[in-house]
Symmetry: C2
Subunit: 237 residues, 2 copies
Amino acid sequence: MNQTDDRKAVVLLSGGVDSATTLAIARAEGFRLYALSFDYHQRHRRELESASIIASALGVIKHLVITFDLREIGGSALTAEIEVPKRKRKLEVKNEPIPVTYVPARNTIFLSFALSWAEVLGAGTIFIGANAVDYSGYPDCRPEYLKAFEAMANLATRVSVEGKLRFAIRAPLLAMTKGEILRKGMELGCDFSSTWSCYDPGPDGKPCGKCDSCLYRAKGFKEAGIRDPLLQFHRGK
Amino acid sequence: MNQTDDRKAVVLLSGGVDSATTLAIARAEGFRLYALSFDYHQRHRRELESASIIASALGVIKHLVITFDLREIGGSALTAEIEVPKRKRKLEVKNEPIPVTYVPARNTIFLSFALSWAEVLGAGTIFIGANAVDYSGYPDCRPEYLKAFEAMANLATRVSVEGKLRFAIRAPLLAMTKGEILRKGMELGCDFSSTWSCYDPGPDGKPCGKCDSCLYRAKGFKEAGIRDPLLQFHRGK
């Protein structure tokens, strides 16, 4: 066990700033990159265009998009007819319950497909852009969850049982603030003008600026002292 | 924690004899049934017709079929251009490696969707027809794997983190022989003529009789002292 792989990694890529930075980190560490995105009929499928541009810009070997319809399961503002909450201005999430934008077991579904692909590729590392600092309190972004998934993964697969490969679930952004993530991404050459964060873009195709995802993004750029190139692009239109 | 649910269960239903018996067991225990099947572009998609007939016969409240394409990931004789192994007559699997019909992380993907649906439904129990006696040695049918999935599931979801529901992964067939499974299924009123096991049906639409799935099925009916109604049906055509 614990044999090293041949430095292939599967990287979950949503198209947002976190997953773009995660992909850039994996690249900087010398991994051969396989990016995995999901068209789950999310309200903000616009993010998939971003994922495709980022994958190409960061030189992935293959970018795979798996399609299924989570609207059939529902239970989230991102996949059902539930309104995405908007805030007046401030992001105050202390002691709030987990919001309705939580998609039931989404990261578990995503990581399961990543595990399947990693096994076929012989890739021992799966990267996910989960963050447990500036985040919406989603249960499947917490370190204890990721550890439990890793333990399960190493019992689930032929390659792990036969001792050929041991899987590591890596979440390099886990303990970083949004500002730190953005600075790291810039440092590693991410073009954030290609990323997409908004859960609920308007009919004009612009970010709403009021959902939690927009607000965390804004907080991060403010902290990092950088102007958001995506907003500059939209203002320039 | 450990609050009981309202006796809803999500049951993974492939359309084979094991999942049919599992569904019948869940029904006999008084659960309100939600059956979940997957069209993953498996070679033997024929099994989905069976799943639909079984779900209806056993009175499920809803039967959901989630569609995605595991051929994009490949790595198995069931989803890629790899031949399904056939045996001359005998099933001798002691000390054999895990066969090419293993689909990388398939049960993890299936259970992840089941977890998502269970969370939305408020169902605390997920049934899977995994068996670790008369089986092909798949890693994701072993009790230690199922325990690890359960542990992960209880960290992955809003309802578990908020203490509203605790998930149990139940595999009632785990320690039964194929003969015992079939007897139990018959006892509970399963009509096995509606089930499908063959991995690789011929162009005539009949079971091949030589893949491991056909051979385990034959072994089970022999042990149970029952004639396989599916074969009788095909012989009668």
